[in-house]
C-alpha cells in the first residue's frame, strides 16, 4: 500500500495521478460523513464531489505538520452543512420510507425485535435537522463517526469543552424528539443489566 504522506506530498506538488488516488482513498470517508449530515445519498455525492474540488484548490495551503484527515473532515462537514443551508431545507427522509407515515407506527421497540436501522436512520434524519449546525457537526463526528473529542475539537477549531457542550445540547434535543415522536425507540422503564454472561 502506498504511503499516504507521500501521496499527499505528490498531490500538493500538482501530481494529478496522486490527486486521483487520494480521491479514491478518501471518498468513502467523505461521502459517509456528507450523508450523515444531508441524509440523502444524491446530496452526499454532490457534496463529496465539491469537497474534492475544494480540496484540490486548497492543497497548496495544507500544512503537513497537521493531520490530513482533520483538515478533510473540516472541509467535508462545512461543505455538507453549507449545502443543506443553501438548499433552504432540512434533512430528507430516505426515499424508501413513506414520509407521511406517523413516526410512532414506523418504529418498533429496539429491545423487542431485530434492529430496524431504517427506522433509526429515519428518526435521526428527521430529528438531527433540529440541531444547530455546530451541534450536528459535533454529534456526527463524535457519535456516528466515532472520533475522539480532541479530534472533533481540532476539526471544529474549538475547545474540547465546547465540543462536550455541543454534544450535551445535541443529545438533549435528540432525546426530547425521540421521546415525543419516536416513542417506539425509547423503551418504557429500565431494562435489566447487560453486563456479564447470560
Amino acid at each position: 500500500m502506498r504511503d499516504e504522506g507521500e501521496l499527499i506530498r505528490r498531490a500538493v506538488d500538482g501530481d494529478m495521478d496522486a490527486v486521483n488516488e487520494l480521491i479514491r482513498l478518501k471518498r468513502e470517508q467523505v461521502v459517509r460523513v456528507a450523508y450523515q449530515v444531508t441524509g440523502d445519498w444524491e446530496d452526499a455525492i454532490d457534496v463529496s464531489q465539491g469537497v474534492f474540488v475544494r480540496l484540490w484548490k486548497r492543497l497548496h495551503r495544507y500544512d503537513p505538520s497537521r493531520r490530513f484527515d482533520t483538515w478533510l473532515y473540516r472541509i467535508t462537514v462545512n461543505a455538507a452543512i453549507d449545502y443543506v443551508r443553501s438548499r433552504g431545507r432540512h434533512l430528507q427522509p430516505l426515499p424508501d420510507e413513506p414520509a407521511d407515515l406517523p413516526a410512532h407506527t414506523a418504529t418498533r421497540p429496539v429491545g423487542e425485535s431485530a434492529l430496524d436501522l431504517a427506522a433509526l436512520r429515519k428518526a435521526f434524519a428527521s430529528l438531527s435537522a433540529r440541531l444547530a449546525p455546530k451541534q450536528r457537526m459535533a454529534f456526527v463526528l463524535r457519535e456516528v463517526e466515532g472520533l475522539e473529542t480532541a479530534e472533533v475539537a481540532r476539526i471544529m477549531n474549538v475547545a474540547e469543552s465546547t465540543v462536550r457542550n455541543h454534544l450535551l445540547q445535541a443529545r438533549r434535543v435528540l432525546r426530547r424528539g425521540l421521546e415525543q415522536e419516536y416513542p417506539g425507540l425509547v423503551p418504557r422503564g429500565s431494562s435489566e443489566s447487560g453486563g456479564g454472561e447470560s
Binding site: 463517526e145 466515532g146 447470560s198
Partner: protein, 166 residues
Amino acid sequence: MSHPDLRPFLEDAELPAAERSRLLEHLQSCPRCRAEVAASDPTRLFTLLGDQPVPAGVLERVSTGAAAAIAVERQRRTIRPWAMGAVAASVLVAGVFGAYLSNRPGVEPPAPIPVKSALSEPKTAAEVSIPAGMIEVLESPGDADVVEMSVGDVQVVMIFDEALEI
C-alpha cells in the same frame, strides 16, 4: 451469549477503535444490550448508523464526478491567464496606434477612445456577430469571454473561447 460491559460506553468514555467496533457489532445483533443502551440514553443508538455500507455505485460516482470537475477547473486556470494577457496586449497595441495617429503633423487629435470591456459579463458566441469566413465556430458548449473595443469607426471584438478556431 456473552454480553460486553456497556458501562464505559454509556458513561461516554472514549473507547479504543477496536473495542468500539466490537461493541457496535454486538449491539447490532443483541436486542437485550440495545434495550439497555436505549433505556440509559436512546440517542446513543445513533452510534449504530456509522457502520453502514455505502450503496453500490456511489463511490465510483464520487470519483468520476470529482475528477471531471477538477479537469474543468484546471482548464479554466490555463485559459484565463492567456486571455488576460491577450487583452492587455491588444489594449497596448490600440494605445500605441492611437498615439501614432494623433501625433502625425496636420492631423486633428482624435476623440478619446472609448474602451469597453465585457469581461465581467460573459457572452455566448451566439450573442456576437462575427463576419462570415473569419472565424469558424467548431463548437460552443458554454460561455465565452468577449471584449469589445471601439476605435473611431472601427469596432474590435475579441472572443476568448477554446471552442473557437480562427
